[in-house]
């Protein structure tokens, strides 16, 4: 039973509590009471929903849950609370419906935003684990899909959004309009926030004698006028909100004043909440709370066609969830595997941005899986059917890179015997992944910048530019900000690329992932080499955890491949691991500096590279494989340490 949802409805919403998130103390109390591994709690207009993972016998907790809430919200013991319980599929379905704002019984102003706040609160309290993370990622992805492919979120289905919709339909230039507030109604804060979001800037309260209104005045930077001036409210205002405390005669007077005040046609929108509306007068359009309900009902009816479509997407997600749980891929995301919170945030970010065409810069040390991230973004985007082209900017000689990327026309240079489309045009409609972007030569940086700004490229030797529509994902294992500061990378290109930055943590900062990944690689290579290895010995695992993994996951993968190939029996032992792992101190000792504890990491790396190269007699290919880094990275590091020429003895 992975997920349970407790949906509690208050007969009378607790007063003095605002916002979609309950207190952190309540969250922790609930988690302790339900003995849940993961828990998220969201408060939406008169209800509270708790989603908890792996709760044993949920029905038994209902009474104590109600008691906890009565205490937490300082309610009377006789307060009426109804609790409905959802389990299994219906709980997952409810989770996705709440997170995407589809659930009608918890409909509030901005359900998705409220949900995001609740999720952030749960994450801060470390109550989010792989199950809620996965569901959250899927909910985010679904929300973006609904937003981009339908008008679902554009329908006004709350009073405050209905007011905004009417104001936008009837009046022009909301930023210049004046909003007058007479009396008070509980919906005013939400309505005023919505109008402020729509661009309204001028708010005028015609009396303000309580704390709630005074806080509104401060928040909206509104003016407060004397009650005696109320009679002129609609003569000077374009939108009038009238709540309890606005006398009918006064409103009637305002309606007339508006009609006579030189206004023509529907120029004043008067919203009357629980006050008798004035009779129709020229120049005033009156909407009561009931009329707003009518608008909301109409919009809900119009939206129902889309709801059916969204409902099928949610059902698909529920099905996917179960196949995910059953396949024990709880820590997997699009071919990547991690239980670290940092990586879970990266996965969530990928879900959020994949469907947009936004440019992404992926940063991370060599071997942290930057290309996998890029591929995941491509796979989850609407371009997934189109090409995904990878270019390693550091691996192609500088003089060839321009024509490789942008193409060339016949005769552009010696040897250009035919037209070449170039990788950009090959990726047209799809995604291009520029790895090691920090190695890009300055003149190509200009060309790339031009593409990002204008969407066009010019093949070498061509007379005119060509339009190309593709998404650019870039990656680097260097500190681009530092390169910009040093003047080696254009700052304007950096800011263009760095619209969204995904930073991949090195493996040494994700110790929990080492065992998970090692197990995965053992499975993979056991199948490949026809072995029957079930796991690692404790000593081997300790050695893996103790090592600092400069080559990150790639190094771990290579180490596991070697170990699996050498293992005889069903368990991978310490002596099957590469020497650097089984005896990490050898790194220094082999160079005769075993006792030198003051070596910097950089120096240690330099010496280790040098000794490995010596061991393989300068063979870059073999050395890079043993070091668990790419050949380009090795080449770059050699150049960095000024050892480029003397060590080059590569296998041709």
């Amino acid at each position: 039973m992975p997920l349970t949802a407790f949906h509690i409805v208050f007969a009378e919403p607790p007063t003095g509590v605002s916002g979609p998130t309950p207190s952190t103390t309540l969250l922790e109390n609930l988690s302790a009471m339900l003995a849940a591994n993961e828990l998220i709690c969201i408060r939406l207009s008169g209800s509270l929903t708790v989603f908890a993972a792996d709760v044993q016998d949920p029905a038994a907790h209902e009474a104590s849950l109600k008691r906890t809430l009565v205490e937490a919200f300082d309610l009377q013991a006789s307060a009426k609370l109804t609790c409905s319980l959802k389990r299994e599929r219906s709980a997952i379905h409810f989770f996705l419906s709440v997170a995407t704002g589809l659930a009608r019984d918890v409909t509030s102003g901005r359900p998705h935003e409220a949900f995001e706040q609740a999720f952030a609160q749960a994450a801060e309290s470390t109550l989010v684990g792989p199950l809620l993370s996965y569901l959250h990622q899927r909910a985010v992805w679904l929300y973006e899909k609904i937003r981009l492919e339908t008008d679902f979120y554009r329908y006004a289905v709350q009073q405050e959004t209905a007011v905004r919709e009417l104001a936008e339909k009837v009046l022009e230039g909301l930023s210049e309009l004046r909003v007058a507030i007479l009396g008070y109604d509980a919906v005013f804060p939400a309505v005023l926030d919505e109008l402020a979001l729509a661009g309204c800037r001028h708010f005028e309260f015609f009396w303000s004698d309580d704390e709630v209104r005074e806080s509104l005045v401060r928040r909206l930077n509104a003016t407060v006028s004397s009650p005696e001036l109320q009679s002129r409210a609609s003569a000077i205002a374009d939108i009038v909100l009238a709540g309890k405390g606005s006398p009918v005669a006064l409103l009637q007077g305002q309606a007339r004043a508006a009609g006579q005040g030189g206004r023509k046609e529907d120029e004043v929108l008067l919203f009357a909440f629980d006050v008798s509306p004035p009779q129709a007068a020229a120049g005033v359009l009156v909407y009561t709370r009931e009329d707003l309900q009518l608008v909301m009902r109409h919009n809900l009816e119009e939206r129902s066609g889309i709801e059916a479509r969204v409902e099928t997407w949610i059902k698909d997600e529920v099905r996917n969830f179960y196949s995910w749980v059953q396949s024990e891929q709880r820590f997997e995301f699009e071919g990547m595997i991690s239980r670290s919170p940092q990586m879970q945030r990266v996965f969530e970010m990928i879900s959020r941005i994949a469907q947009t065409d936004i440019t992404v810069l992926i940063e991370g040390e060599s071997g942290t899986g930057k290309e996998l991230v890029a591929r995941a973004i491509h796979r989850l985007s609407s371009r997934c059917e189109q090409a995904f082209v990878t270019v390693n900017c550091g691996a192609i000689p500088e003089n060839l890179l321009e024509s490789e990327l942008f193409g060339h026309v016949r005769g552009a240079f010696t040897g250009a015997n035919a037209d070449n489309k170039g990788l950009f045009r090959e990726a047209d409609g799809g995604t291009i992944f520029l790895d090691e972007i920090g190695e890009l030569a300055p003149h190509l940086q200009v060309k790339l910048l031009r593409f990002l700004q204008e969407g066009e490229i010019r093949p070498v030797g061509a007379a005119r530019s060509v339009n190309v529509k593709l998404r650019v994902l870039a990656a680097t294992n260097r500190n681009l900000a530092q390169l910009v500061a040093d003047g080696d990378f254009r700052s304007d290109l950096y800011y263009r690329l760095n619209v969204i930055e995904l930073s991949l943590p090195p493996l040494r900062n994700r110790p929990d992932d080492i065992a998970l990944l090692a197990q995965r690689f053992i499975g993979k290579f056991s199948a490949r080499y026809n072995k029957d290895i079930s796991g690692l010995s404790i000593e081997a695992l300790d050695a893996l955890r103790a090592y600092h993994w400069p080559g990150n996951i790639r190094e771990l993968e290579n180490a596991m491949e070697r170990a699996v190939a050498l293992t005889i029996g069903s368990s991978l032992a310490l002596h099957n691991l590469p020497e650097t792992l089984s005896a990490p101190s050898d790194v220094g000792e082999s160079n005769g500096h075993g006792g030198d504890a003051m070596l910097s990491l950089r120096e240690l790396e330099r010496r280790h590279i040098l000794s490995t190269l010596e061991r393989f007699e300068g063979n870059h290919e073999a050395a890079s494989k043993a070091l668990g880094i790419g050949r380009t990275t090795l080449w770059r590091k050699l150049r960095e340490y000024g050892m480029g020429s003397e060590t080059s003895k590569d296998v041709k």
Binding site: D151, L166, E168, K169, V170, L171, E172, G173, G262, K264, E265, D266, E267, L285, Y287, D291, L294, V295, H298, N299, E302
Partner: protein, 270 residues
């Protein structure tokens, strides 16, 4: 040539139906398909007009059929420009059926290279008619925008929200389009009428400015002038100006299609 004309009518109808379908289902993808179709029709219609011009040795504006066809072309091109400028499809589902019907009428009375009066074979006359075509096209846009304004305003005022409330943009949006189009139309209309009066003085020695058709044109001009001046100086807004625009275009249709048939005055070239 007649087959080409009927082909155009079918294409206009297809574009109109696509826009209506997109409006019904609120489908942006269908609207975009409709726009591509409309762009293709406008290009083909342009080709057709060039063909007619080469064939007859004059711009096809002399007979009712020709003038209607050219009017449809000008209006659809104006609309397409407006749609591309404002990135909004709201007017298309309403103007395209109207243009399709006009195109159908033009097709029914189609007579390639028909005989025309000699006075119609001069450049000044062509300028006169083309200016009026632009004016009428702009008035047609103003008319549709005003009708949509009135329909939407009615739904909002009577709180009986329906298909227009959910699918149309705001009242100010339609008001703006109606007012711009009417103003542009008024400029072209004034210029066109002045050129027309100049031709009349040259062609007819015994010329009366008070012919029935001329009187209808003056009335029309006064209506649009009132539309402009009322907005500019008397702060007329909303329904009042929308109704003037509707009345103005109905009078345009009457003077364009009906007046010459009903009253055989000086401005009749049979």
């Amino acid at each position: 040539m007649e087959y080409f004309a009927w082909f155009l009518i079918v294409l206009y109808a297809a574009a109109g139906l696509t826009y209506l379908r997109a409006f019904r289902h609120k489908s942006i993808a269908t609207f975009k398909a409709g726009r591509s179709l409309l762009a293709a029709v406008v290009i083909l219609h342009c080709v057709f007009i060039v063909w007619q011009t080469i064939d007859a040795g004059r711009i096809p504006i002399a007979t009712v059929s020709e003038a209607l066809g050219t009017f449809v072309f000008v209006t659809s091109a104006l609309y397409l420009g407006l749609e591309l400028l404002l990135r909004n499809f709201a007017i298309g589902p309403f103007i395209l059926p109207l243009l399709t019907i006009m195109m159908l009428i033009a097709g029914l009375f189609f007579e390639p290279g028909g005989e025309i009066a000699a006075i119609l074979m001069n450049v000044e006359f062509e300028i006169h008619v083309l200016l009026l075509m632009f004016a009428y096209g702009a008035f047609a846009l103003s008319f549709i925008a005003s009708v949509l304004y009135l329909l939407l305003a009615r739904e909002i005022r009577e709180k009986s929200l329906g298909i227009f409330y959910s699918r149309l943009p705001s009242l100010p949006y339609f008001e703006r389009i109606a007012n711009w189009s009417a103003s542009i139309g008024l400029v072209c209309f004034s210029a066109g009428v002045l050129v027309g009066i100049h031709i009349a003085f040259q062609v007819w020695k015994q010329f009366s400015l008070f012919d029935v058709k001329f009187l209808i044109v003056y009335l029309n001009w006064l209506l649009y002038l009132a539309h402009y001046l009322g907005r500019r100086f008397l702060h007329w807004r909303g329904k009042r100006v929308a109704w003037i625009s509707v009345a103005g275009f109905l009078l345009v249709l009457f003077s364009f299609l009906g007046a010459s048939q009903l009253f055989h005055g000086a401005h009749s070239f049979k």
